[in-house]
Structures are given as structure tokens and as C-alpha cells.
């Protein structure tokens, strides 16, 4: 410790007694040393004066709010396991819904089967059957023309199926997968009547339920779409 450090310790009252006395003796002989010792004592007093500070206005409420905020921030987030649980439950519900959707009961089938003459059959050779897979007519657009189901699926923007029992109307875009199987209707229907040169439909003998036809009309100018439902008689003649 050099002389200056001793002087600092002495001014701040931290020098041992014997060394303090020696230093005081030196101060009496050296005015410059005495002046420096006085300045250091003044510094010590000034530092104590720094204890006068403005009043603290921090309230307990503010501290409590800060603690609460920090606790909320520090709260652990949900782990991925807990996040996965609702996702898994949702997937399970979705899966059950899809399974049940495949088991939708078949709507009652209208037995009215009308066939067109050979001249109007499509070249593909598919049977032309008006009764769809689920007892409904496929009626397309404003042209009021009944077309084969397979053709409607590819050409029309939408197909409408209606049955006479006022069951829920199912509007769907048919796909190849849902194309009705022709052999089924061939088996259910009676043997076709002889077909003349002019396209005509011969009703099947016996009581036949009436069917409903929904005709969708579109106004070209305004784009308005209307649906007209027409209930037919038991015998339907199509063509001409």
C-alpha cells in the first residue's frame, strides 16, 4: 500500500490506529498532504450526503401486478402431448363420420323404367335408363331433356335427383364411380317393348308410381336460377 492509499484509508477511517497516528504526524509537517487529507474527508462526507434522494413512490400494488404478470409469462405452455389429444379426438370423430356416411340407407326406388328407341341410344351402347341408381330422374338444365346418366355426368354442370316420396333431394356431381350399373336395371325391369323407328318410350305394363321432375331454368340476362317441380302421370312418354 503506497502513501496515497494509506491517506485514503486514513480519511475513510479504515487505517489501523498506529499507522493513523504516524500519518497524522506527517500531515502536520506537510501542508500538501494535509490538504489532500482534508479533500478526502470532504469526499467521504459528500458521499454520505448522497443518501438524500427523492422519495420512492413504488407501491405494493404495482409490485404485485408485476409479479402476477411475470407469473403468467412464466406459466408453462401446453406440451405437444396435450395438444395432440384434441387433434386425435377430432380425427377419430371425423373417421366415424366418414364410415357412417358410406352406410347411408338406400332411398326407395321408383320403378318407372322407360327406355328410348334404339335410334336414340348413345353409340356407346350403354343401356339408357331413366331411373337412376336411386330412383330418380336425371334432368338437365333448361333444355328439359332427359339424357343418359353417364352423359349427364360428363356434360351437365349439375344433376338433380328427386323421388316422388319427397325424400331429401340430393344434388351431386356424378362421377364415373357412381355411375349406375346398367345390368341392375335390366334385371329389375321388364323386357323392353319393341322399339319403332321413331324414338319412343313404351311404359311398362302394370301400376307404376308417378315420378317428379325438377326442371332447372336459368335466365340468361340476370343469371337467376329457378327450379320447377313437375309431377308426371304414371305413364311417361319421352322423345319426339
Amino acid at each position: 500500500m503506497n502513501r496515497r492509499d494509506e491517506l485514503i484509508q486514513h480519511a475513510f477511517g479504515e487505517l489501523p490506529e498506529d499507522r493513523s497516528r504516524r500519518l497524522e504526524a506527517s500531515e502536520a509537517r506537510d501542508p500538501r498532504l494535509a490538504r489532500e487529507a482534508d479533500a478526502l474527508r470532504q469526499l467521504r462526507a459528500d458521499l454520505r450526503g448522497l443518501r438524500d434522494i427523492p422519495e420512492c413512490q413504488l407501491s405494493a400494488e404495482r409490485m404485485r401486478d408485476a409479479v402476477l404478470r411475470s407469473e403468467m409469462k412464466a406459466r408453462p405452455r401446453l406440451s405437444p402431448v396435450w395438444l395432440g389429444a384434441p387433434v386425435a379426438a377430432g380425427l377419430a370423430v371425423l373417421g366415424m363420420f366418414l364410415l357412417r356416411a358410406d352406410d347411408v340407407p338406400q332411398l326407395p326406388v321408383a320403378t318407372s323404367t322407360v327406355e328410348l328407341g334404339a335410334s336414340s341410344r348413345p353409340e356407346s351402347g350403354a343401356d339408357f335408363v331413366l331411373a337412376g341408381a336411386k330412383s330418380a330422374f336425371d334432368v338437365v338444365g333448361k333444355t328439359n331433356t332427359i339424357v343418359p346418366t353417364s352423359t349427364a355426368a360428363t356434360d351437365s354442370p349439375a344433376t338433380v335427383a328427386v323421388n316422388i316420396h319427397r325424400r331429401p333431394v340430393r344434388i351431386s356431381r356424378r362421377t364415373e364411380a357412381r355411375k349406375p350399373r346398367p345390368e341392375r336395371f335390366v334385371r329389375e325391369s321388364s323386357p323392353p317393348a319393341p322399339v319403332g323407328p321413331v324414338a319412343s318410350a313404351t311404359p311398362e305394363p302394370g301400376p307404376v308410381d308417378p315420378v317428379g321432375i325438377v326442371i332447372i331454368e336459368t335466365t340468361d340476362s340476370s343469371g337467376e336460377i329457378r327450379a320447377n317441380e313437375v309431377e308426371t302421370a304414371s305413364h311417361v312418354v319421352i322423345g319426339g
Binding site: 470532504q42 434522494i53 427523492p54 420512492c56 409490485m63
Partner: protein
């Protein structure tokens, strides 16, 4: 039978109420134990008891009231979050001041950067507001002049020197406490205080128009 009961009681986990009977009800340690057990009112008592101590220390580190209050608030938030880490062998106030030192040091460094940027932007016009000078009309009196010069010199000290001066010469804490707060030995704390005083004297002497040896 009595022995069995006593053994059973000793094996039971100590609750806050049990600790209260063992400790002085109003001591810092008892309040800490109750706060650890979830009693926030006990922590509020600790806050009321020690907030001025922490505030004084914080104000010396960052001599603006709002900054100092922010430091105090953050110190008590950190103390509450880390109550489980407090070991009873250290004094609670020492532990608090240690947190204040760590947080205040970061804060002061941030403030110094901010103040220097503000002063650069204002072209030095804010100097008299932040640190004071002899040109300040309020500081015409000699005492005020000395206080302002001292504050200016203190603010210019490195933070570890400043903390040593604050703890020893303003807060008048003893060396073992200072060593605990600063995380050093007692001898190291004494040496740090001595060097800090020397540096302060060198800085304040020109401001007061004095010669330093």
C-alpha cells in the same frame, strides 16, 4: 409413546405454520418461509420492509427516480420467482442487494447507452438535466455544486467501482456483506473499495477545481 410422537412430528413435512413456531414470526426468514408456502402477504411485508434499502441502492446506480423504481420492481419480481433458491445462511437483504447489483448493472449499462444517444441527438443540450453542472442555476450553492460534481464523477466510474462505493460509503455496509453481494472475498471487496475511492477522487478533483495527489 412420547418418543414415538416426537419422532412422527419430526418426520412430517414442515409447513409454514410449523416454521412460524420455530422461527421469530416477524423475521425475514419466517416471512420468506411463509412466502414460499404461497402466502403472498408475507412477501408484501418483505417488500415494505426492504424496498427503501433497494431503492436507495438502485437510485445511486441509476440516479433517476423512474429508473430506480423500475429496478426495485424488477428486483422484487426476481426475488419472488427465485425464493426457492434463497439459502437461509445469507441475510435476506444481502441476497436482495445481490439481485439488485446484477440487474442494476445491466440496467445502468443500457441507460448509459441510451443517455449517450439522447445527448448525441440533442447536441449535448440535455447534459445539465441528466448529470448536472456548475452552470446549473440551482447549483449555485457550494454544497449543491459538490453534490452534482460527485454524482457526475460517480456516474463516470466503471460499474464495479461504482457498486463498491455505493455499498461501502453510501449504504455503509460492512465488508463481509459487500463481499457476499459482489460475489468476491472480503479481501477482494476491500481492495475493490480502495481502488474505487482512488478512481473517484481522481475524477471528482478536476470537477471541483482541486488537485489530486
Amino acid at each position: 409413546m412420547m418418543r414415538n410422537t416426537a419422532r412422527l412430528n419430526l418426520r412430517m413435512p414442515l409447513r409454514a405454520s410449523t416454521l412460524d413456531t420455530l422461527l421469530d414470526h416477524d423475521s425475514d426468514e419466517a416471512l420468506v418461509a411463509r412466502a414460499r408456502a404461497g402466502e403472498f402477504a408475507a412477501f408484501e411485508q418483505l417488500f415494505e420492509r426492504h424496498r427503501l434499502l433497494v431503492y436507495r441502492y438502485a437510485y445511486q446506480m441509476a440516479p433517476r427516480r423512474d429508473d430506480a423504481e423500475d429496478i426495485v420492481q424488477e428486483v422484487f419480481v426476481r426475488a419472488y420467482q427465485n425464493l426457492h433458491r434463497y439459502r437461509d445462511e445469507a441475510k435476506f437483504t444481502t441476497w436482495l442487494l445481490r439481485i439488485a447489483t446484477n440487474h442494476g448493472t445491466d440496467r445502468v449499462r443500457m441507460n448509459q447507452r441510451r443517455q449517450s444517444l439522447e445527448q448525441q441527438e440533442a447536441g449535448g443540450a440535455l447534459t445539465w438535466m441528466t448529470v448536472g453542472s456548475e452552470d446549473d442555476p440551482v447549483a449555485n450553492l457550494e454544497a449543491d455544486r459538490r453534490v452534482h460534481a460527485l454524482r457526475r464523477a460517480l456516474a463516470a466510474l466503471p460499474i464495479h467501482h461504482r457498486n463498491a462505493i455505493i455499498l461501502r460509503d453510501i449504504e455503509e455496509r460492512d465488508y463481509p456483506d459487500i463481499a457476499e453481494i459482489l460475489g468476491c472475498t472480503v479481501g477482494g471487496a476491500k481492495l475493490r473499495v480502495l481502488r474505487a475511492r482512488r478512481a473517484l477522487r481522481d475524477r471528482v478533483a478536476p470537477l471541483l477545481g482541486e488537485d489530486s495527489e
